[in-house]
């Protein structure tokens, strides 16, 4: 267990790096838009503190992790928020993903990502199998859980948020895959989900138009290509050594969303190849620690949760970096723990808090 003791340290360093780069990349924009260069930074600092408080609360009260009541409460809140988004959300860039509550803007889909591993873990029996039909008839608990997953995914899909939908489905299928589910069920489920989503898209004219607006080549292509080229330009000019902290050129209005989706480009421009290598090493160590926690955990449900959370984190990190370097089409996913965005940050801190409490429980 000694190797995993450093998890908190890695987590802290990465979040701190995130804080620094959120300030670096958003200062100019904040100054132009809100007349204060600290505007976005202060917001992120607030969530930094909230995130860490949540982290330590979860670590302190380890029982919270396995309390079904609390988890379902959390779950229903998020589903409720997702429904609210659909009807009352605020539209930014042709997509309705955000919910304004007072001064805060919440993106419930970020929290929903964390729920997938939870629900999945709760659907398992003690041997780590998903059993839909047992001797007493249908297992309603499992069916209910999967219904909730389907509902949430559908709501996210019609926001529309392709990136998150694909990420959630990937996690779901990987979960099914590693829990010894039969291939024919997996394929069946895949077929059902894809056809459902397809139907949902084409039946509503309004939804169809929204997707068209995103996919429309006249508008979309130009914007997306513009973003990627600017991002690549940033990474190229950074080179191996980088330009120096705070000296990025691209963040000054050339690179849109420099503080969230494309923060990796700014990091690469400012601290160069060596800096990014160190950052990726930190990520690797952190995720490796979680993986270790996962496979040494004795409780089958928690074990599944940690492993799936590990897969979620690593895929999302790869996706974000892949988009920034232009290897993948833009998905709108953020860099875990670093990008600006309170919802994403707190959601991940909750996830890591659970992992840490699992480690302490076993050790």
């Amino acid at each position: 267990m000694k190797k995993t003791d450093n998890m908190r340290f890695y987590l802290f360093v990465i979040t701190l790096i995130g804080l620094i780069f959120v300030f670096s990349s958003s200062a100019v924009f904040s100054y132009y838009k809100y007349y204060s260069k600290y505007f976005m930074f202060t917001k992120q600092l607030l969530f930094f503190i909230i995130g860490w408080i949540l982290f330590f609360t979860i670590v302190k009260f380890k029982k919270l992790v396995s309390d079904p009541f609390l988890i379902y409460l959390f779950l229903f809140t998020i589903i409720f928020l997702l429904l609210m988004v659909e009807f009352k959300g605020s539209e930014i860039n042709n997509a309705t993903r955000w919910l304004k509550i007072g001064p805060l803007t919440i993106q419930p889909s970020e929290f929903f990502k964390i729920i997938i591993p939870m629900l999945f873990a709760f659907s398992l029996d003690k041997q780590g199998k998903i059993i839909v039909k047992n001797r007493n008839g249908l297992n309603w608990k499992v069916i209910f859980n999967f219904f909730i997953i389907a509902l949430g995914t559908f709501l996210i899909f019609i926001e529309p948020d392709f990136g998150t939908t694909i990420l959630i489905l990937t996690i779901l299928f990987i979960g099914l895959f590693i829990s010894r589910t039969r291939f024919k069920y997996i394929i069946l489920m895949f077929a059902i989900i894809v056809s459902l989503l397809f139907l949902a898209t084409i039946t509503s004219n309004y939804r169809l138009n929204r997707f068209r607006a995103i996919l429309s080549p006249t508008k979309g292509e130009q914007t997306i290509r513009y973003q990627i080229i600017q991002s690549q330009k940033a990474i190229r000019t950074g080179g191996i050594l980088g330009k120096g902290l705070g000296k990025s050129n691209q963040k000054i209005f050339y690179l849109p969303e420099a503080w969230s989706d494309f923060i990796f480009a700014v990091i690469s421009e400012e601290i160069g190849g060596i800096g990014t290598l160190l950052l990726l090493l930190l990520y690797f160590l952190l995720y490796w620690n979680i993986y270790k926690i996962g496979i040494t955990c004795k409780d089958m449900r928690l074990r599944y949760f940690v492993i799936l959370f590990f897969i979620l984190c690593s895929i999302q990190t790869c996706l974000n970096i892949g988009v920034a370097i232009g290897a993948l089409p833009p998905t709108g996913t953020v860099l875990p723990l670093i990008s600006q965005g309170g919802s994403s940050f707190t959601a991940f801190m909750i996830g890591f808090g659970i992992c840490e409490s699992v480690r302490l429980k076993d050790g």
């Binding site: 829990s179 010894r180 050339y254 892949g322």
Partner: protein, 587 residues
């Protein structure tokens, strides 16, 4: 948990992350050529207006829209629809058949060639043009109108009072860069923030406002700037200055009108000026504002300031060097001074024997001033005079004039002053050069009872006093009487008037010739600085005329301009005073 399955997933994940990792390294280490396919385009923000004190427009930006149809992306049916709208609108406005036929031809050619078509406002006329834009916008249901039909908005700078304000405002050149004047100096607040959008996602204008688009930055209009200058005053000042400059075939002229007690500049004219709307028709020298950007030695108008200083001066023992009753022998109009090996001859226009201090000012005697300065050189302190001149002529501080090109004046360092030469020159207004507005500000200490007031050009600025006690009350009284007598019986008696009491000082300076390194005998700067009404000073006016011919003296050339401006100003601004004054006269 199935270990084989988990490991295979892990294996794919490692592969995936390695793929990303190597792409990243390739990008960071790879070549630095950068694709230039996608560009950012700019939309100019509306430049702020410049207004005069009464809110009249001095400079403004006129909005011009060009309507574009990019037919490459429009279907045939859509083009025909647009054509119909344009033709019905044209016939509604009863345009000539020729125009309609012409436009029809153009539209037909478009259907074949498929290029962009642009209708400018000039072509169609304003009303028709707006109607077409609105109709096309509202009637046609073209999906994704952006990129197919768009309006390019640009601004043209327009100056409604071209010549009289040219040297104050400066101009905007063809590339949109401000040159000279206020346009250049206050560019940051005037220009606003330009908008930026991604090339190819042209922002469209709906109902006169920018529509939603891929803005990187939305344009933000510039601030308006209000000046203290009054266009009426500016206009008649320009007229009178022009008259005099033309009459004496002078090279140039400048007049500055200032509210004595507040420092607000209400008129600032240069002749010959230029028309900022057609700046390219004028030579380069015209763009400069002579009142602030050129340094001059002005001659006699510095005399009251020097005498005021000497009357205030106390030596180490606390005694004054000269008093108001001091008398000086004026050598019958010709005075030789030995400077080193050479002799310097100083001459007066009129010949005098003995003059008292007041008469020296009134008749502007150079010999008298030389004698006074010789006394000071013997008994006084060099450094103190030096610091006084620097302070009163603002040689070291900026005046905060919002017109680009302001130059601080120059004076020789006091340690390098030549004995029996430099100080005498100062007394006559030579060897010390400054821009004209500095002399006006220095002179303004007399009507304001010893206050050195900063000149104000912007309406929002408040009066700022550099120094409160340049002269004491006694000295001021003496100087004011002397300056009143200059007009009554001295060098400026031509402009003496019974209606308004003027006071002032004339100046005639030989211009320094850089080629011969001597003061020229043919080229002069004639000037008059004065204030009125003498008993309650309201306005201080400086008139400077560069290289007049036929007549050279300030009293002949510059003073009449002062009188014209002052009289007109008196009836324009102080007319309430006029009525009471006239009534008294009737009784």
């Amino acid at each position: 948990m199935n270990n084989i399955r988990l490991k295979s997933i892990l294996f794919f994940m490692v592969l995936f992350s390695l793929f990303i990792f190597f792409r990243l390294i390739k990008l960071q280490v790879g070549t630095k050529n950068i694709s230039k396919k996608i560009q950012v385009e700019k939309v100019k923000a509306k430049r702020g207006d410049i207004l005069d004190s009464e809110g009249r427009l001095i400079a403004t930006s006129i909005e011009l829209n060009d309507l574009y149809f990019y037919t490459g992306k429009l279907s045939n049916k859509e083009i025909i629809d647009i054509e119909k709208i344009i033709i019905t609108e044209l016939s509604r406005y009863k345009k000539s058949k020729k125009t309609i036929a012409n436009l029809k031809k153009r539209m037909e050619r478009l259907l074949e060639n498929r290029g962009a078509i642009c209708f400018s406002r000039d072509e169609l006329g304003t009303t028709l043009y707006h109607d077409i834009i609105n109709k096309v916008d509202t009637k046609l249901n073209i999906p994704d109108i952006r990129g197919k039909i768009y309006v390019i908005r640009h601004y043209k700078r327009f100056y409604p009072f071209p010549k009289i304000y040219g040297t104050v405002t400066g101009y905007i050149d063809r590339e949109g860069n401000p040159k000279y004047g206020i346009e250049s100096f206050l560019n940051l607040s005037l220009k606003g923030i330009d908008g930026e959008y991604i090339k190819g996602s042209m922002p469209i204008i709906r109902e006169g406002k920018w529509g939603r688009s891929n803005w990187i930055l939305e344009p933000k209009n510039g601030e308006d700037i209000s000046l203290t200058i009054d266009s009426v005053i500016q206009n008649f000042s320009y007229k009178y200055l022009k008259k005099s400059v033309n009459k004496y075939r002078a090279k140039a002229g400048c007049a500055i009108i200032m509210e004595s007690q507040t420092g607000r500049i209400v008129g600032f004219v240069n002749y010959p000026g230029f028309d900022p709307n057609n700046y390219s028709d004028y030579p380069y020298e015209r763009f400069m504002n002579k009142g602030i950007a050129s340094l001059y030695e002005v001659g006699s108008i510095i005399k009251p300031m020097i005498i005021g200083y000497l009357l205030n001066y106390r030596d180490k023992d606390g005694k004054s060097i000269i008093t108001q009753r001091s008398k000086f022998y004026c050598e019958n109009g010709k005075y030789k001074i030995k400077t080193g090996q050479k002799f310097r001859i100083i001459e007066d226009v009129e010949k005098f024997k003995t003059l008292n201090l007041e008469k020296i000012l009134v008749h502007s005697s150079n010999i008298g001033m030389s004698k006074i300065m010789q006394v000071y050189e013997e008994k006084g302190d060099k450094l103190e005079l030096y610091t006084y001149l620097i302070a009163i002529l603002n040689l070291q501080r900026g005046l905060g004039i919002p017109i680009s090109g302001y130059q601080k004046g120059k004076i020789l360092d006091y340690r390098r002053w030549v004995k029996n030469y430099s100080m005498i020159s100062f007394g006559m207004g030579y060897e010390i050069s400054a821009s004209l507005i500095n002399f006006l500000v220095a002179f303004n200490t007399i009507p304001t009872y010893g206050k050195l007031i900063k000149p104000i050009f912007l309406k929002k600025d408040r009066t700022e006093i550099f120094d409160n006690n340049i002269f004491n009350k006694k000295t001021i009284d003496f100087l004011q009487t002397a300056l009143r007598n200059v007009v009554k019986e001295g060098t400026a008696k031509k402009i003496n008037s019974n209606d308004i009491q003027f006071a002032g000082k004339t100046g005639t300076a030989n211009k320094y010739d850089r080629k011969t390194k001597k003061y020229s005998e043919e080229r002069y700067l004639a000037s008059f600085v004065g204030y009125f009404p003498a008993d309650d000073p309201q306005y201080t006016i400086g008139v400077f005329i560069d290289e007049p011919k036929y007549k050279i003296y300030g009293g002949d050339v510059a003073a009449p301009v002062f009188k014209d401006i002052a009289e007109r100003l008196f009836y324009y601004k102080l007319n309430r005073v006029t009525f009471t004054y006239k009534r008294e006269k009737d009784e």
